[in-house]
Symmetry: C2
Subunit: 349 residues, 2 copies
DNA sequence: GTGAAAGCGCTAACAG
DNA sequence: CTGTTAGCGCTTTCAC
């Protein structure tokens, strides 16, 4: 027979400890927090008493008094997909170290749900918010009163007065391009996802910039499509038809690169000997499992999370910054690019 | 110049609302919570006043009084990898509906960190815990006093008196086997990950059971290895050498199945015509992107999370259950298995 | 050094 | 119906 909900067991309080140690509650508080002056003897007695009855100070009560909860809300719009997970882990890691606990909220990109979460958490007196989501275009600012600290991670706020930590997509394209040029590649193509996606365009621009600096252009123009393996395969055929002498391809994602790699092999091109291949995301399961393993641009997502956490702590402390801050990316070299020059094309003029 | 940390802005209190509405704090409380008797006029006046000064009841203060915080701790041991993310989303979804907020904790499989999180959250007076992690063998129970509700999701507790919600791995193997038999396949192989992994052995046993019911055995015995594409490729060669007439393969993960599919194609076997292929996890990016798209067993991870949340709420309400509860799995059919009989082997004796 | 008292913001019990 | 009082658990003056 189901038992009825009983009031939760009463837990040990300061008063209990005080009684056990034969002192007053105020003294217990001092002993536990190291504030004020206390004789070593009573302090030890109090600590022992606390230990014995497994006393655990009620953080809620303390927060009522302090007007601060040492908690923050972490709101994601994309159900903690693969982009926001590293961010959130980075953030949680950085905040946990600072004795701050994190409330997890999945708004599923629904403004109603988001508003609801914000209301509830404001009621819980969170010290601030981190807002994240898939890498995407700007988003509307969170609907909170001006005093509440908010940091945007990955998805920048459309208000330039807000603090946003973002990925440096242009650098991703540059890094990939520079690496390929250093390897001696000259005919470098680019296959990526949707042109409506700001990051896709920025990566393409970064690549074009790196190639431009070496007097090159993107071979066959960037090919925009969607973020699927199927498009990667299809785009490879398109690219090789329009530009058969291509000797390297930079892809806007690892998934795309997988499709590209498969098609290259089927078309009789060897990776990396004939065509070097670089992906984006550095998603271990995808990049590491490829054949050959895929060189990829790591966007530094967990750094984004960690930095967002740091900025939030600063803002809570009264030092807020405005504007976008770009996290550097870096190349993780695997087998799909190598240090050998490409199969000699003879044009070493 | 950095401003000094100021005390957080004082927010509107019940007293403020009371003053504005010209009533006493107690009356405001009644109006806001719908308790007691109140005249419609004053109630409206109070609500209006609350609205005007953007009053938001302090949940912390309320919790001190109620001895209950309407929060729970969600502890994961595996950094919210792809197994625990769906679980956590399911749990968060189910709990959020019940006005409960969720603290996110990544213990990284470190007992020290875990203990730390538990201590902090106990201090915050969480109503209970959900413990999750990668699908794995049993784990030690969480170190909390007996009164605290805990539900284990995915990773069962080694104490049979605890409440654990787990995946039905044996059923996964059975479902895959039965589907293949229904398609007329008779030489069914199994490629999977580590034999130290309970789920791997249970899936193999489930497959064997389904085959046994049809008078069959696993072709070439289950091949244990690791959870990588590389092993999938390698194991395919081993399997085809020892058992060339194999006409279906069930894989312990989608990643493995990707490797298997690639090797099959290279060895000249068509999927699904010559060899039908089933994976496990139903991970959209992997299964959906394969060529042909991969039929896969969905383990029902988000259901695990949702159910764990429900059981936790029950336990908090005073009705706890003991023992393991299995969540059903289901097959998601894609192109790597089809409804056609296998290429006629002539042995329709 | 230590204790008594007041208060954080909210709610329940009891008067009026 | 509404106001007053007391108290949740903790902390911080301020006397002693």
């Amino acid at each position: 027979m189901p038992r009825r909900a009983e009031p939760p067991a009463r837990r040990a309080t300061v008063r209990d400890v005080a009684a056990r140690a034969g002192v007053s509650p105020g003294t217990v508080s001092k002993a536990l927090n190291g504030t004020g002056q206390i004789s070593r003897a009573t302090r030890d007695r109090i600590l022992a008493a606390a230990q014995e009855i497994d006393f655990r100070p009620n953080a809620l009560a303390r927060s009522v008094f302090e007007r601060r909860s040492y908690t923050v809300g972490l709101i994601t719009t994309d159900s903690f997909e693969r982009f926001s997970v590293p961010v959130m882990l980075g953030a949680e890691d950085a905040l946990g170290a600072g004795k701050i606990s994190v409330f997890m909220c999945d708004s599923r990109d629904d403004p109603i749900r988001e508003k609801h979460y914000v209301d509830v958490l404001l009621g819980r007196r969170v010290d601030g918010f981190i807002v994240t989501g898939r890498i995407f275009n700007e988003r509307e600012p969170l609907d909170v009163s001006p005093g509440v600290p908010v940091v945007y991670a990955l998805t920048p706020s459309s208000d330039p007065g807000d603090c946003s930590i973002v990925v440096d997509d242009a650098a991703a394209g540059r890094v990939a391009g520079e690496h390929l040029i250093r390897l001696g590649r000259r005919r470098i193509g680019h296959i990526t996802g949707s042109a409506w996606f700001d990051p896709a365009r920025r990566r393409a621009a970064g690549l074009a910039e790196a190639l431009g600096a070496a007097g090159l252009e993107v071979a066959g123009d960037p090919l925009y499509g969607d973020w699927t393996e199927a498009w990667g395969r299809q785009a490879t055929h398109i690219l090789l038809r329009s530009c058969p002498e291509v000797d390297a391809i930079y892809c806007g994602s690892d998934i795309l690169a997988r499709g590209v790699g498969d098609s290259l092999r089927e078309l009789g091109r060897r990776v990396p000997e004939d065509v070097a291949l670089i992906g984006t995301d550095n998603w271990e399961f995808i990049a590491g499992g490829a054949r050959p393993p895929l060189t990829s641009v790591d966007l530094g997502l967990s750094t984004v999370g960690r930095l967002a956490a740091r900025r939030l702590l600063e803002a809570i402390g009264g030092n807020s910054r405005a504007g976008k801050e770009y996290v550097p990316c870096h190349l993780v070299v695997r087998g799909s690019t190598d240090d050998l020059p490409p199969a000699s094309t003879g044009s070493a003029s």
